[in-house]
Point group: C2
Chain length 373, copies 2
């Protein structure tokens, strides 16, 4: 049914909605309609809808509805125009041939829109048994794990993040073959056992939209093929990755031989400095010598060499062990504690950075450094 | 004479010096020595020296001199290392084979340096008759003119900026074939008549180093081939562009037919919005219709159309005229006045944006828009 559409909203409100919806617009698509935002106006709601076939977003904005109707408009052009308008009320209307007029103060833009009919609708999800988290918790969990997904699309499962719920425990896991990141939080209520693999890209986009407020909630719903996040005036719907996640439990058995505690920031800055000497192509490891009260970090490259001592509190054996500095940096960066405790067994066995309660565990495989010395 | 060198300076002091000196380091050079910074330590000065053969910089830093000497070190590696050091005192020393050790707190870097002997020394300039400006004035003049140099190296003179001094007037001019930018300031004292063409790139780099303080001075010295800027603890020496600058005076004769005054920010924002509709490849002009009390801006492109009315105060004839929006934007952006006055003659003659005192004049050629409507 073709109807013309007419709304009046503040620029700020439109811009906010467009910014949210744009997260599910593909940069380039073989289906031009996917590069559009759908403006869908009913008698009592104004919605922006986008869908890149993996991720779909629907966000509601407030404004005055003068005439219901809907139109598809190129997301990039529309958001560029809105962004540059004066901070005032904006009139948006379409005519019968989907020409879109955007008017604000004395400025009038006219651009061609399209019918929204060929736009792929978001699948209908039955909302049952919401898993409830704060926006803060979800945003933090994502930040603290998503960096170690793999970007190698040939192994789809590694590009995703495991969400595993059992009782009141929510566990998120990512891995890329060299490391595993695990974060656990407690839910306020028990939830039925659930295990799904969420695309990492979805989580990255969601974390950009989440406010991060501890007082605001996210409701999460699962189906066999989808995960639905509902928060503020927004719904984000993502396909799940199909398949069985890796069994990682056997990686966490066995005892450590060395345990030490180190100031996180000092350690991080030191590794960061050391990476100056590594060219992208070289893949040089940094070498950590854990002695009684000191960690000695060493690196030797074609550019030069560096060494630095850091005070530690150690239990167990001395050890000399090599690492890809990037893996240590990325884990240390997302931990909030001032001091971290690191567990090692031998120069070929994984090392663990974890707290006592195991609300976070970062497993990192060492690198052979015999040739690097 | 090969001597080892040893100094102790604060990280902040070294970093500041390195940031200044790095402005004359070429990104890539066929002479690797030019990618170096020279650390030159005498019995009472520590200097960083760089030279890309067009531009040379010498900046002095304060610190404790333990042993005089000099060394050449890759500017990028050195500045990366300094930047990442803790905020504390830094020990820098070389051994007899130019190995450079940089030590700060418990961190020790060792990188290979080179003899500074093959580094091309900056030409000695006799400092006579300083032209004195405030750092603020020089930085402003550069900002307000340098955007309209040409980047076409086949016409060397257009890549430069004319500095013309006569009596107490300092005039800076740039042009690129489509527009001319002129800025004049008054000097505190008379200076002998001088006319030089300074490379635009030099001025861009200098303006990054200038503090912009009205209370701090710059001393400028001229020779036949060079211009020397001396300020704070820094000397910047640049080659001049040889040749005769364009005679531009005849462009400024003749009377206008239309004169109008417009709010600069409102006009600028409006043109900025209009450019959304122009793809880089299209080169569409914006069309200004100057009527009695209103400027009507129009643009039509493959993306869509826009029009907007802006209130003006006009004298003279109505006019319809087209412009490359970029040229208007760049001029309007650097003017500080709230209201600007624009003079036009006909749709093919240059338009002028200037103030009454003519301390700034921006000449912009219009574009044929017959095909654009």
């Amino acid at each position: 049914m073709r109807r013309t559409m007419k709304i009046l909203c503040s620029k700020a409100e439109i811009l906010n909605g467009v910014n949210i919806a744009s997260k599910a617009v593909p940069a380039k698509s073989t289906m031009p309609i996917l590069e559009c935002i759908i403006i869908q106006v009913t008698d009592n709601t104004i919605k922006f809808i986008t869908n890149d076939m993996e991720l779909g977003i629907e966000t509601m904005i407030s404004g005055t509805i003068i005439e219901a109707g809907s139109v598809a408009v190129n997301a990039k052009i529309f958001s560029d125009i809105i962004r540059k308008l004066p901070d005032n009320d904006v009139n948006i209307e379409t005519d019968a041939s989907y020409m879109l007029t955007i008017q604000c103060e004395k400025s009038v833009f006219t651009i061609a829109g399209k019918s929204s009919e060929e736009f792929p609708a978001l699948p209908k999800i039955e909302k049952r048994d919401a898993l409830v988290l704060s926006q803060f918790s979800l945003k933090e969990i994502i930040r603290q794990t998503v960096f170690s997904i793999s970007d190698n699309e040939s192994n789809k499962i590694m590009t995703g993040e495991l969400f595993e719920i059992s009782g009141t425990e929510f566990k998120a896991v990512t891995l890329d073959g060299h490391r595993i990141s695990i974060r656990k939080i407690s839910l306020k209520e028990e939830y039925k056992a659930t295990k799904v693999i969420v695309p990492g890209k979805t989580l990255l986009e969601i974390s950009k939209i989440l406010s991060g407020e501890a007082e605001e909630e996210v409701h999460i719903y699962f189906t066999d093929r989808h995960i639905l996040f509902e928060f503020s005036s927004t719904i984000v719907l993502s396909r799940l990755i199909e398949g069985e996640y890796y069994k990682i439990n056997q990686m966490f058995s066995g005892d450590h031989e060395t345990k030490f505690t180190i100031n996180r920031k000092v350690f991080l800055d030191c590794i960061d400095r050391a990476t100056l000497l590594i060219k992208e192509s070289e893949k040089k490891p940094i070498i950590l010598g854990i002695n009684d009260t000191v960690l000695e970090l060493k690196i030797n490259s074609t550019i030069g060499s560096m060494n630095e001592d850091i005070d530690i509190i150690k239990e167990g054996k001395d050890i000399l062990i090599g690492f890809n500095p990037k893996f240590l940096i990325e884990a240390l960066r997302v931990i909030d504690d001032e001091e971290v405790t690191i567990y090692m067994t031998n120069p070929k066995a994984p090392c663990f950075i974890r707290n006592q309660e195991e609300t976070y565990i970062y497993l990192i495989l060492p690198v052979n450094f015999a040739s690097a010395r």
